[in-house]
């Protein structure tokens, strides 16, 4: 008997087609808005048109009087039940419906529950709110001014608008490094606010059954179990009586981790009315009120030796969190994993300070394929390295090579204290440079310049921490960030796998089955994957921060290995040999001395239900909770080549080369899809995608006319390459990949544009690198920083 071909059974390395696409491309997906329950009512939220104002009065009488209106809820309704404020995932509080004042445009003020969504919307318009305007602060510098109006006057210990001051690294050591430097390179950057804008907006259907006392909530959430715990605590309901179901999710990107007022109010409405209540957010509601991304200012400094060696790094960051500090992030790290910056470089000393500030903008900050602000960390890092190369007059590829952690230097403790464990950084970079033709590029660039054409190549290299995380360091509200898998092998050898993660497009139904195929030799098509129902799935922290493969994926391996261990005992029993004499090859146990005598995994499964050894517990099921020993550290080199039109400032991407090392690839096709999606978003961030505000706090970017997503027309083509350095601690050697390209990509595009214009004296153009900014930089020979300008002095 020949061993199974792992690719044929859809195991590790098979570019298996996505099984979930079968229903998606037929329009048979089941999203929250597809669900209709008997007697269901519809909820609509009234939002504030102004950014900062005291609420003088709310008159709901006209809304109550409209036929078809069942309930009007205001902050007062909630306050009577102690629900007007809710805790956030960052130990702050957030208004569910405003009682005292509104703190950002789009804030939730009231909700109407009616027979149909039209009536609910009409009734919202009939609610009259009187406002008394307050000064509006749309950036942290305004909010930090002396005597600035306090945004969070609801909080006793909040004398100003500063949320936290946090630091990490070695202040003194960094000081010394700067004293020894040949050159100090400085840069000021703003990573602008953007929004994940999943195509499916947020929504929920709350269904409280008075007779059974059970609350079922269908919800667009990436983390159903965290939501169940939060609902249990906030609504003071017994946890076993709460069932959160995250059905198909139309994209999350971190937008669907937090708890939003709409969820809470729909739940209360269902309890009060004893009817199912559906709330589906509209596009504007999603863009102006739910978890945004980034909005951080950086003052970066680098201490450099003449030969390009980085001696020390200083990063001073100011984060605009909006009106509530509501990010979902590990509680130890106030500004996420920003201090993962410079992890791929061997740097003696680094120091980072971060200040969080309230402003009159929507709350959030940690979202959009960011892996807890690693997006900002790597963007800042790669812009700082690029600037250092310019200041030193050094080749941008060379400065990276000089500072990379060497292949034989692992494990490596980074200057900020992370432990990286594997990688081949120079190999990846060189592969990318060769692919894009870097050797001859400088000459090409020079000749083009003579003919009035501006060409540039931008490099971005980085290793990032994915897969939070080990329980020593990572928790959300005290709950450790492990994950889980439960695997049931049926007697016919078919399997059901459930995890605590929740796919929102990542393809878990496909790849998880491949891990089982790899571990047990069951054909992937024999494994059904289910996620998202807290009544059936084991507890898990959910899917974000590229953590599903590193954590839940590892749990699947571990559960499958438990099954294999038990199946081995059964096989020994069937083969009538001792367990020590049983060998395993993919899908089959055999007797070491007589390889032709064996038991397939399917035969062992049948025996687990029909012919188990004496004293053995019947059945073949296992559950595993996995607490990863470390983060996983994928590496990437992204290299963009652009041409800038000197007359209009328009830049076109001529080529984009990506070299990704995410360890072992479970499904190469899905990995490539993740990379292409990430690069598209990276291009979006670099070129067009941002949310800005006018001085009154009006959100510019409240619909897809103003908030631009790139389409197939302008998105450039991508050339993908791979290097594989297996993760040393992950059971199958995989590392995260979901966010790499979105994290590392933006700097490649920006560096490319800067490379094309740096001979004019330009070192920075803030994202998005809009044509008018490029034009201004070319014309003035000066940096262009986006509004508001970063402070220029201490």
């Amino acid at each position: 008997m020949t061993a199974l071909d792992e690719i044929k059974i859809g195991g590790l390395g098979a570019s298996r087609r996505r099984v979930e696409d079968n229903r998606f491309i037929r329009g048979k997906g089941n999203y929250v808005d597809d669900i209709t329950l008997p007697g269901m009512l519809h909820m609509e939220i009234l939002r504030s048109p102004v950014a900062h104002a005291r609420i003088v009065s709310i008159d709901t009488s006209k809304a109550w009087a409209m036929p078809g209106v069942r309930l009007v809820i205001t902050g007062e309704t909630l306050a009577a039940r102690n629900l007007a404020w809710m805790p956030t995932l960052s130990y702050d509080t957030q208004a569910v419906l405003a009682t005292d004042k509104v703190r950002f445009q789009g804030q939730e003020i009231a909700a109407v529950i009616a027979d149909d969504p039209y009536t609910a919307k009409d009734a919202c318009e009939a609610i009259v709110v009187e406002y008394e305007p307050l000064p509006v602060m749309v950036n942290p510098y305004q909010a930090m001014e002396d005597g600035a109006e306090r945004i969070r006057d609801d909080k006793e210990n909040q004398p100003d608008n500063v949320i936290y001051d946090w630091e990490v690294g070695d202040r003194d050591g960094t000081e010394r490094a700067f004293a020894e430097a040949d050159l100090v390179s400085k840069i000021q950057l703003h990573y602008p606010r953007s929004h994940p804008s999943p195509i499916e907006t947020c929504g929920s259907i709350a269904d409280f059954n008075r007779a059974t006392q059970k609350l079922t909530v269908y919800m667009t959430t990436q983390a159903p179990h965290i939501i169940r715990a939060a609902v249990a605590m906030v609504a003071e309901l017994p946890e076993q009586m709460i069932r959160i179901i995250a059905p198909d999710i139309g994209g999350g990107f971190g937008n669907k981790v937090p708890v939003y007022p709409g969820y809470v109010v729909s739940i209360l409405a269902s309890i009060l009315l004893e009817k199912p209540v559906k709330w589906i957010e509209d596009r504007t509601g999603n863009l102006i009120s739910t978890g945004f991304a980034r909005d951080i200012y950086l003052e970066g400094e680098m201490a450099l030796r003449k030969d390009g060696k980085i001696l020390g790094v200083r990063m001073n960051c100011i984060a605009d969190h909006g009106a509530f500090f509501s990010d979902a992030q590990p509680s130890k790290f106030k500004i996420g994993l920003l201090h993962s910056a410079f992890a791929c470089y061997d740097i003696p000393a680094a120091h980072l300070t971060a200040r969080g500030v309230y402003t009159n903008k929507a709350p959030g900050g940690v979202a959009y394929r960011c892996s807890f602000r690693v997006t900002e960390a790597m963007f800042f890092q790669e812009r700082m390295v690029e600037t250092a190369a310019i200041d030193l007059g050094m080749d941008p590829a060379e400065i990276r090579r000089v500072n990379f952690v060497r292949d034989d230097d692992f494990p490596h403790r980074t200057a900020f204290g992370f432990l990286t464990d594997s990688g081949q950084y120079t190999k990846c970079l060189d592969l990318g440079l060769e692919a894009i033709g870097y050797d001859t590029f400088r000459q090409e660039q020079e000749e083009a310049r003579k003919r009035g054409r501006l060409l540039g190549i931008g490099i971005s290299t980085m290793t990032e921490p994915l897969g939070a995380g080990n329980s020593r360091e990572f928790d959300i509200l005290g709950i450790k960030m492990f994950d889980s898998a439960e695997l049931r092998i049926h007697m016919t050898g078919k399997a059901l796998l459930r995890t605590g993660a929740r796919s929102q497009g990542q393809g878990h139904e496909t790849t998880w089955a491949q891990i089982v195929a790899h571990e047990l030799g069951l054909p992937a098509e024999d494994v059904t994957v289910e996620e998202g129902d807290t009544d059936t799935a084991p507890f898990g922290m959910g899917t974000y921060a590229s953590r599903s493969t590193p954590v839940a994926g590892a749990a699947i391996s571990m559960a499958a290995r438990k099954i294999r261990a038990k199946a081995r005992k059964i096989a020994a029993h069937l083969l009538e040999v001792s367990e020590e004499d049983v060998e395993w090859e993919l899908g089959r146990f055999y007797v070491r001395s007589r390889p032709e005598q064996g038991v397939t995994i399917q035969e062992a499964a049948m025996a687990a239900y029909s012919n188990m050894p004496d004293g053995m517990e019947p059945g073949l099921e296992a559950i595993a909770y996995y607490d990863p020993p470390n983060l996983t550290w994928p590496f990437a080199a992204y290299i963009a080549k652009v041409e800038v039109d000197p007359e209009t400032g328009v830049w076109d991407v001529l080529r984009m080369v990506a070299v990704d090392d995410c360890g072992v690839r479970i499904n190469p096709m899905i990995v490539e899809g993740q990379i292409m999606g990430g690069l598209t978003e990276a291009y979006a961030m670099a070129s067009m995608q941002y949310i800005t505000f006018d001085a009154e706090g009006n959100c510019i970017g409240s619909n897809f006319t103003d908030y631009l997503l790139p389409t197939a027309w302008e998105t450039p083509g991508f050339e993908l390459h791979e290097v594989v350095t297996p993760c040393p601690h992950h059971p199958i050697g995989a590392k995260g990949i979901g966010e790499c390209a979105a994290v590392g990509g933006p700097a490649a595009f920006v560096n490319a544009v800067i490379d094309a214009v740096k001979h004019l004296g330009v070192k920075n153009i803030d994202m998005p690198v809009l044509p008018d900014r490029v034009y201004e930089a070319i014309k003035t020979g000066k940096d262009v920083s986006g509004a508001p300008p970063v402070r220029t002095d201490g």
Partner: protein, 291 residues
């Protein structure tokens, strides 16, 4: 989408449609491609009590070149039809150039040129194109037809010169006074984005000179701007490097841009100059090649 309540009528003739508008007495709106009206109803910026859907009036679904050389575009002619039109490819270069730059392919499948003119968005592309051609709108009301020059048709942002009981049945481009040449350039941040700035140039060339010139600008003022001085320079002096540079400067001078999230006023003005000059240089270059 949850717009306020409205009535819906789908007449089959223009007369019927006009009758409904008369009845509506200002509370009814014509629905053509719906690519501007529906988004406005969805966001509740528009809340007409009645929609008069003209999509069933098949008489309005045409575009053609008449014997005298004029081009006539019916009220139901879609952007996509114009994009694929052989008539425009052969006879009307400015319209042909613009037709592929309006909105995105999906919107172009439904949106109409006449609807775009009626919508009177200062950032609408067709208004500049048709103004550069000296085109007119044919309006039909209860008492008959009248002809309104495109330049007078938009009376303000999102306001047109139609009476409440009139339907725009067609737009007409007059016969050219020579060989029509032209182009349309537009800065958009992304496909489907409205113009940061756009320039339409239409020339009728005869005997080596310029018999007629029209230059109009998109998105750089409270309404479509007609750069008359720039056009006059070309008619007077023909196409040479100096006249082109001067006309481009004059066009930029006619712009009244404002700084917004699409770009600074200065940048938009600069774009007008660059685009005008690029179109004119291309026309001058191609006629040199032909000669």
């Amino acid at each position: 989408m949850y717009p306020p309540r409205f009535e819906y009528e789908a007449p089959e003739t223009v007369a019927e449609a006009v009758g409904l508008l008369v009845e509506g007495h200002g509370s009814a709106k014509v629905l053509a491609g719906g690519q501007s009206l529906i988004p406005m109803m969805k966001t509740r910026f528009a809340s007409p009590e009645m929609l008069v859907d003209i999509n069933g009036i098949s008489d309005l679904e045409y575009h053609r070149r008449d014997a005298d050389g004029s081009i006539r575009v019916g009220a139901l002619c879609r952007h996509a039809t114009l994009e694929q039109s052989q008539v425009l490819a052969d006879h009307q270069p400015t319209m042909a150039a613009a037709s592929a730059l309006v909105a995105d392919p999906i919107v172009r499948n439904r949106g109409t040129l006449v609807g775009s003119l009626c919508h009177a968005d200062p950032q609408g592309d067709w208004a500049a194109v048709m103004a550069s051609l000296g085109a007119s709108v044919i309006a039909q009301g209860p008492t008959g037809e009248r002809v309104i020059p495109v330049q007078e048709f938009a009376v303000g942002p999102f306001q047109n010169a139609l009476a409440y009981d009139e339907i725009a049945v067609a737009a007409v481009v007059p016969p050219p006074k020579g060989k029509p040449e032209g182009g349309y350039l537009k800065m958009e941040r992304r496909v489907g984005d409205f113009a940061t700035a756009g320039v339409a140039v239409s020339l009728d060339r005869s005997a080596g000179g310029v018999a007629r010139a029209g230059i109009a600008l998109t998105g750089v003022g409270p309404r479509t701007i007609v750069a008359e001085e720039a056009a006059a320079i070309l008619v007077e002096r023909g196409l040479d490097p100096d006249s082109i540079a001067e006309a481009a400067r004059a066009a930029a001078g006619a712009a009244q841009p404002k700084t917004d999230h699409r770009g600074t006023a200065e940048y938009k003005r600069h774009l007008v100059e660059v685009f005008t000059s690029r179109i004119l240089k291309r026309i001058a270059g191609s006629s040199e090649e032909a000669a």
